[in-house]
């Protein structure tokens, strides 16, 4: 039998192919590993980039949420670094910092996955209301000698000079302005404006002796138009007149119109809010009292022909929030309203007492006597603050009220550094970390803070 001869390699060559194959396999494996590593690295890079972009948009969402809050009357604080607000698959917290004059800096930090971003904007809660102008005269403003104009914030309580300044609710943010010239002070007595006194673009500020103005006196760059009053139309209820036999009359709440409200001597008319009243003639005789009670709602009174608060009469608003009381006089023509043969100005203010609210008479000259303290604001065609009078501008009028539709104005935008807080330093997904730690962030819409409530 012929045996098949198996040829074998020499012992010196045995396994060489294996080695080569192994080398190839090893090389391929190494290359694969490198490729995988590169891929992973690329993927990580991409994920980081995506997370950073998401975090950026998360911060933007935080700013938008805070802006919305400011519009809705909130403080602008949304969430906190310890308890951020949740939005989709990320979290954010926004802080609001008051800069004064209605400006707020909103700073939002957004976190999504490993991404972090912080953005900041400045918004101005400017008000389009006439009250925001302070004490304003279209044609002129005259502040006579020994008068005082200062400011306070009704949100912090009633006006108070405090004891030696302690517990005081006063400020230096008063606003006095005109579209033309401004006269402050006189020959005698010291006149003080704790705030700005600005003439119009082509006006001039004339200061008397011993006059102090703590704010700017620079002219306005543009004029301000005193808009005509849009008087609403309601069902006419005739006239109301008080007398000794009927010494107290309460005007019912709601929207009504009258020919005349006439408060006789030793009697009183009370207007209770919420009320919107249109009246042709509002007359308060000497020793009569006109009271506004805005505790249950705002009061708006439109006077179309004649507002006469005669010498010795009394006006009171019961410590109302100045944002809740408006006295709007659309009358602009002098006429003999009382039939005594002499011409009467459309606004006669000689009353005693205090008025917390906004007085607006764009077509009439208004002279505020020293016996009547105004807490709020007053605008007129020509405004005179008589000698010795005390006016207190309410800075809360600078901010848009709840009835105003004006949006806060965006003043500036910037990227800022990440804040030095623990949640930002979490290495990976902050939301996952918080959930794992048993802290479930609340939804952004419910994470707002009200004005005056500061985040912990």
């Amino acid at each position: 039998m012929k045996l098949m001869k198996i040829q074998t390699a020499p012992s010196s060559r045995r396994g060489s192919a294996m080695i080569a194959a192994l080398l190839v396999v090893f090389a391929v494996a190494t290359l694969s590993m490198i490729h995988v590593q590169l891929d992973l690295s690329k993927a990580r890079e991409q994920r980081t980039a995506v997370d950073t972009k998401r975090a950026f948009y998360m911060a933007e969402a935080g700013l938008a949420e805070a802006f919305h809050g400011v519009v809705a009357g909130k403080s602008g604080n949304v969430g906190t670094p310890d308890e951020p607000a949740r939005f989709a698959n990320g979290i954010f917290f926004t802080t609001a910092e008051e800069e004064g004059l209605g400006r707020v800096t909103l700073t939002s930090t957004g976190m999504c996955g490993a991404g972090r971003a912080t953005l900041s904007i400045v918004v101005e809660r400017s008000s389009s209301a006439v009250g925001a102008m302070g004490f304003f005269g279209d044609e002129s403003v005259s502040i006579e000698a020994s008068a005082l104009v200062d400011s306070y914030d009704s949100r912090n309580g009633a006006y108070s000079a405090g004891l030696l300044g302690i517990g005081a609710n006063t400020g230096t943010q008063a606003r006095v302005g005109s579209n033309d010239s401004l006269m402050v002070g006189g020959a005698n007595g010291s006149t003080i404006v704790y705030g700005d006194a600005q003439p119009g673009p082509t006006g001039v500020l004339v200061r008397g002796r011993n006059t102090t103005i703590t704010g700017t006196t620079a002219p306005f760059l543009t004029s301000t138009t005193l808009e005509a009053i849009d008087v609403p139309t309601y069902r006419n209820q005739g006239s109301i007149a008080t007398s000794l036999l009927k010494p107290l009359v309460t005007v019912p709440v709601g929207e009504t119109a009258y020919d005349e409200l006439h408060v006789g001597a030793l009697s009183k008319i009370v207007v209770t809010g919420p009320a919107r009243i249109v009246v042709q003639n509002l007359i308060v005789d000497s020793l009569g009292e006109f009271a506004i009670d805005a505790r249950k709602g705002p009061v708006e009174i439109y006077v179309t022909d004649w507002l006469a608060m005669k010498s010795g009469s009394r006006v009171s608003t019961g410590g109302a929030d100045p944002r809740s009381v408006s006295l709007l006089v659309s009358a602009d023509e002098a006429a003999d309203h009382d039939g005594n043969g002499s011409i009467d100005q459309p606004v006669v203010l000689a009353a005693t007492g205090s008025f917390e609210g906004t007085l607006y008479a764009p077509g009439a000259a208004v002279s505020i006597p020293s016996t009547l303290q105004v807490f709020g604001a007053a605008s007129a065609k020509r405004l005179t603050i008589k000698s010795g009078a005390k006016m207190h501008f309410d800075v809360s009028l600078l901010e848009a009220g709840e009835n105003e539709t004006g949006l806060p104005r965006l003043m500036g935008w910037r990227l800022v550094e990440l804040p030095n807080v623990p949640v930002v330093k979490l290495r990976y997904d902050a939301l996952r970390n918080l959930i794992d730690a048993g802290l479930a962030p609340v939804k952004s819409a419910t994470a707002h803070f009200d004005i005056g409530i500061f985040p912990p």
């Binding site: 230096t172 700005d196 004339v206 704010g215 620079a218």
Partner: protein, 397 residues
Amino acid sequence: MSDSSTWARRRGAWIALAILALGPSAPAVPSFGGPKVDTRTPATAFAEFAASRSAGRSDAAAEALASLASFPHTLVRAILEAAAAPDRGADEALAALAVLEHLGGARDLALAPLLWRAGAEPELERAVLAIARRDAGSLSVLEGLARAVPAEVRLTFVRAVEGLGSLAAVSWMARCAERMPDVRPETLARIGRLAQALPHPAPEDALEFVRGVIAGFGSDALRDAVIAAGRMEDGESIPHLIALLAEEDVGLRADAAWSLERISGLQLRDRADRWAAWFEVELEWWRERSDSAFYELESADRAERTCALLEIGGRRMSRDRLSLRVAPLLQDPDPTVAQLAAQTLRSLRSKVACAPLVLALERPELEVGLESWRALRAITGKDLPRDVEVWRAMCAR
């Protein structure tokens, strides 16, 4: 009464009527129908004028005034002097002021303060202004007079002179403020307002006075001077204003910042460091580069002129001087250079460029006209149509 004297009186009456018609507050004047013999004496005519004026009968007052105008001026003046006596009533004094307003000249100005009564500042102001408008020599008379009158009258003089609305009035007010500290604050405020309304630059003596008040810190009128410097857009005040930004007084800082913003057109708020840094850069440019830039403006090479315009357009200090240098290029034969010159003037925003820009509106090249129009709108803040005559009238005002 002879025919010639009657004729003379009638002629005087017609002159008075003409004055009334041109005057600022002329009452309605009746037409004289047919020949009418005027039997009034100066005294009765003045008495009738005073009575009619008090009673609000403007027609009768105008007639009496016309009659008064027909008499020789010395007679009228004697009547007014008598009315100025302290024992005479206020109505008579005010009537005499009204006569001065219509018939007075510079030599009568000395009577005006004597006729003034407390509360009659508006009447005095009207009389002084009317005389100053009629008689060019009034300013020098007023200057001497202002030293000898009470502060209220001095202020009334200042207000009246401001009403003249001229560069000479600005200089007069500056001299008045310099010599009389009691009227300085209000006068400075009025200087600023008047200078703002007039073509730039303001008179150098007024500018120097304002700078002096700002530099002499502590004056009662400091804040008024700061605002005046801003309204006059006085570049030389910049270092003083920057120094004021370091003061503790918040209001003063705000005013200084406002003036700096107005002078420069920049919005650096009240940050003294930023203003100082900007000022340093501007100074360096004026020291190192301005001469060559101005030289290049006159170069025959279009590229050099263009580069110089671009360089100057970025400057904010001494905008009046820069604008005066740039303005001739509005008439450059190359429309592109002229257009760029208009753009540069627009960014410099100096009122001295208004007149040359109005001229450039007439250039046939559309792009030059359009750019000049844009510049005029930006500088003046007026949204007027692209009409040369409209802009010329505006600039003349």
